[in-house]
Symmetry: C2
Subunit: 273 residues, 2 copies
């Protein structure tokens, strides 16, 4: 049974409240029940949310935690005045000191994600997702020079999810190319990649883990056998060393960690960062 109910409330999507709240909750060995209350953009909806939170407080006999990223001052006032939860007012806490530091007032703009269709950054992200899909698994050589990064590695080393994450979160145009037995025989990178060597980043993985993953897809195949996985990984790592390609092992890493490392290493010029 969860020890506590946690509400994420926002006048936008609540994604920030959730990301931040979950990061903080990960610091505690406790089980919680999570409730999202996004789009609280009117006083009415604020009262509704308060009723729900207070009802939970009453039923459970302890106050819920309320991670709030509310920009609308009227909405925030209602919640602050009436809510019986423990308020963690994430914007309020940091916005005021920043107003002093920057010497300007905050604009109370709701939701970084709204009016998205008009923003260049947003359109770049959507375009990057389409690019990643078109250039998944070596599907297309077209516009390969348009890539910000080209991931290489054996089949199921984590290239596809990483490419999509880089596109979705960072607007990065990521292609990915499988390293296959033909490449190992030729002892060379796929020819299409040669002109773009600077953008290449390698992913590798422990053969035991690779075999597990491949076995889920094609049980008891030669493709999934530990012996074959060992041979492919050996060849791939030898090639990356030979070609001087930067690489990392994905075995115990999340796509977030892999993507962060790649950004550190590749530092694509196109990015605002």
């Amino acid at each position: 049974m969860p020890n506590r109910t946690v509400f994420f409330i926002s006048d936008g999507t609540g994604i920030t409240a959730e990301t931040f709240g979950n990061a903080i909750l990960a610091q505690f060995e406790t089980t919680v029940r999570r409730v999202r209350l996004p789009f609280l953009d009117s006083v009415d909806k604020a009262h509704q949310a308060v009723r729900q939170i207070n009802h939970t407080a009453e039923v459970e006999g302890r106050r819920p935690l309320v991670f709030a990223t509310v920009v609308n001052m009227e909405v925030l006032a209602v919640v602050k005045e009436h809510c019986h939860g423990m308020m963690l007012d994430m914007f309020g806490t940091f916005v005021e000191p920043l107003e002093d530091e920057l010497g300007i007032k905050s604009n109370h703009r709701v939701g970084r994600f709204s009016d998205a269709s008009k923003s260049k950054e947003y359109n770049d992200r959507i375009e990057a997702i389409n690019f990643a899909l078109m250039h998944d698994d070596g599907q297309s050589h077209k516009d390969l020079e348009g890539s910000d990064v080209i991931l290489v590695g054996v089949s199921r080393s984590g290239k596809t999810p990483t490419s999509l994450y880089l596109a979705m979160q960072h607007g990065l145009k990521a292609s990915n190319y499988p390293l296959i037995p033909e490449d190992f025989e030729r002892r060379k990178l796929p020819p299409a990649l040669m002109p773009h060597r600077k953008k290449i980043f390698g992913l590798t993985i422990a053969p035991e883990r690779l075999s597990e993953i491949r076995n889920e897809r094609r049980p008891n195949s030669r493709y999934a056998s530990l012996e074959n996985c060992r041979a492919e990984v050996n060849e791939a790592e030898a090639m990356m060393r030979r070609e001087g390609i930067r690489w990392l092992s994905t075995t115990t890493k999340s796509i977030e960690e892999i993507a962060t490392t790649i950004l550190q290493e590749i530092r694509p010029e196109r990015l605002a960062y």
Copy 2:
């Protein structure tokens, strides 16, 4: 020229620092230069980061903003003691009051995203991404009943990025199906979808915006013409109304907003939330 340099520092990926920091910065009409300093997992690296921050402070003549999600107490101590930036210690600010509230100490675990490969939640996300790719654009009817949500809409109404986002961020198994002229002629949903009606969610879009998007792909085609876009959107909306399908317009919405709305409406039972 940017008014200020902002550092996101963390002993993990820094994704939380960045998400939260950017949400707060969006409240201010100011241009900033952003620098990510992830994986600060030793006192040495902490000193290196501090040198970089202090150098920036000196060169620019004003103190950088430093959004920090640092869990390692030694690393945090170095930064707090020596850094000449404005520290916004995001964990510290909220973790202590929560320790009091929950009556337990925080565990100082670094990075929600580490040791990911062992977590069921993480493996579910990766599986969901593969599922979304396999069930993109009506590609496969296989295991359609395994979907948590099935998005329908005309070509380029936003189904693919939304499916991938739902998979990546929420571990939701999202299929998507295009509504095509044959469906409009038959005046019926694609037959494969009929048994799964409860999971269907529709996306629509203003014909003008649709025509713009399609023109980028296939300039001056009948497919992209405003007239054809109008007709398709009309038919699709009429069908959704007739079939009693929940839907929203993606015209001015981001994938984050679309996904949040879908989660509110569909409330998939499989989700922990």
